[in-house]
């Protein structure tokens, strides 16, 4: 009890030194624990998203790019596939295709052109507003709403992809008609529109003033379509009928197609149909791709663990040195205590009480940090994953 009293008095009086030692010790304990928790959560999150997406159809090329673009809405740009591939899946009767068009962004968040099936497939629910109903409307993820401070009735403008692309990709103003509940998945970071809206942004579909007016017709002026014709940058009830698409929808692009087979057998049959290495498309199982990625991450984790262990050892040595120097500085105090009748064991107990007090506080601090991290790891990992893509 007396040792604890003296230890507490010493630590309190030299509070700055005590705080530094506690923080350093707490960090040594916390960092490996935090790394483990975050990596474990990341693994679960990555694999869960992959396993929740049975098959993914895309152009032949990097499976990882395709998976990252379609599942995590990354900046990767796999070559698009044509909508006829979506129709092929429908026609096969083996599964449900959900197109995912991820080529554009607005205010730093990816615009996902898709069908309403996507919301059912991902089990996304509206926190406010309604589903997409009309061309040009947007439903936004929870983090988009929070970060941009946007809600129902506000608008978003798509970012022009290339200022010199005169063929299209004009900014389109999109009214927000719904805000999704948070899911701690990349869907929180997405702006969902109907895939036709994505094609409007791409310039495949557009609306503009009539090229031939009633006055032209009466005056017999020939039709003239050039840059003087005003293109609409906002879809309104008044101009929606003027929007139209040029060409066949079968040729229109989508980044990838999520394929939900009717059953295991249908999935196997579908996979077999896309095995041709010479084919323009591929059907991949995202879970396998993600597990490969996670395997790589965990090989890096082993390296990270080694680095953490080395840093922890160095920090422990530094703490040991600080404690040793502290004891050396207190040699006079120890000598006094012995002269006044203390046994050496009492001195050791006093120093041990100080060290243990520091370690207990540091452990409590690290444990509190660990508990906080464990409770919020899903949210933080989702945020970290969204930063990394």
């Amino acid at each position: 009890m007396n040792a604890m009293f003296l230890a507490y008095a010493y630590l309190r009086y030299h509070w700055a030194r005590s705080v530094i030692l506690v923080i350093v010790a707490a960090l040594i304990l916390f960092v490996p624990m935090a790394t483990q928790t975050l990596l474990s959560s990341s693994e679960k999150r990555l694999v869960a998203r992959g396993e929740a997406t049975p098959l993914l159809l895309g152009s032949r090329g990097s499976k990882l790019d395709l998976t990252m673009a379609a599942l995590y809405f990354s900046d990767d740009r796999p070559d698009p596939v044509a909508m006829r591939d979506v129709e092929t899946i429908w026609d096969s009767g083996l599964g449900m295709p959900i197109p995912v068009h991820t080529a554009f962004a607005s205010s730093g968040f990816r615009i996902i052109g898709t069908s309403l099936d996507y919301f059912d497939f991902r089990d996304l629910h509206l926190a406010q507003g309604r589903d997409l109903a009309v061309l040009g409307e947007a439903v936004i993820g929870a983090n988009v709403a929070k970060t941009l401070a946007k809600g129902l009735g506000d608008t978003l403008v798509s970012s022009p992809e290339n200022l010199f692309d005169l063929d299209g990709v004009y900014p389109l103003e999109m009214p927000i008609v719904g805000v999704l509940e948070a899911t701690n998945t990349p869907d929180d970071e997405a702006i969902f529109v109907d895939i036709k809206t994505a094609w409007v942004i791409q310039g495949i579909g557009h609306g503009h003033e009539n090229v031939v007016t009633a006055a032209d017709l009466s005056a017999g002026t020939p039709a003239l379509a050039n840059a003087a014709v005003v293109q609409y940058q906002r879809i309104t009830p008044e101009n929606i009928d003027s929007f139209h698409f040029h060409g066949s929808q079968d040729d229109f692009p989508t980044t990838a197609v999520i394929v939900v087979p009717n059953d295991r057998r249908s999935g196997t049959i579908l996979k077999g149909r896309y095995l041709d290495a010479e084919g323009a498309t591929q059907l991949v199982a995202p879970a396998g791709v993600i597990k490969g990625l996670v395997g790589r991450i965990f090989r890096i984790k082993a390296l990270l663990d080694a680095v953490t262990a080395i840093i922890a050892l160095a920090a422990l040595a530094a703490i040991g040195l600080a404690v040793f120097l502290s004891y050396r500085l207190r040699a006079a105090e120890i000598a006094t205590a012995i002269k006044l009748g203390a046994r050496r064991g009492m001195v050791v107990r006093l120093l041990a009480a100080e060290t243990m007090t520091l370690l207990v506080i540091a452990t409590a601090l690290a444990a509190a940090g660990g508990a906080l991290l464990a409770r919020n790891s899903d949210t933080w990992v989702a945020w970290l994953v969204s930063l990394g893509v």
Binding site: A9, R12, T336, I338, K339, L340, G341
Partner: protein
Amino acid sequence: MVDIDDLVFTYGSGGFQLRVPKLALARGERLAIVGPSGSGKTTLLNLIAGILTPDSGQILVDGAAVTGLGEAARRRLRASHIGFVFQDFALLDYLSARQNILYPYRITPALSLTPEVRARAQVLAAACGIGDKLDRHPAALSQGEKQRVAICRALVTQPKLILSDEATGNLDPDSKARILDLLFEQAAAAGAAVLAVTHDHELLPRFERVLDFAQYRQEAPV
């Protein structure tokens, strides 16, 4: 209070030896030990306190043969019978003056910290003129105040013997006399003898007896 017979202590290095054929300190007596540096004055205090053990001879403190006691018994004797006052005060910077006075009770099971002890510490501090400074840390005390705290710490265990090692060495001339008088006054009130090592010859008239220690140091036989 202290009886020394044929004491011999050889220093580990340097080839010198301390020889004290006979030395006695009566109860309540005030004895000053003077002598050049290195003559063994502080060594004698450590031998009496049982911190060092002699090669031969006998030391009795309050009738107990220190030289015949084991380590634990010597510690108990030291804690319960002897009070120390040091030149550098040896106060702990992280404890208040009150806790510095009570420090002996924190470090040895031979002493029990009771409400009576706390009250005694308060009375001692008031008698030494630091009653209103008990919650201050040493850094907030003057040199004289620090030594008063050290005197209170030496007396709070009600020892029969005070060993003072240059207790006034770090004080200004005015404070020296005041602190020594205070030490004598409080020791007398507690019935304790004072054995003081000092270099300060101006203070010697205040002692009842003065012993020159130069005669006790000699070369050790090869």
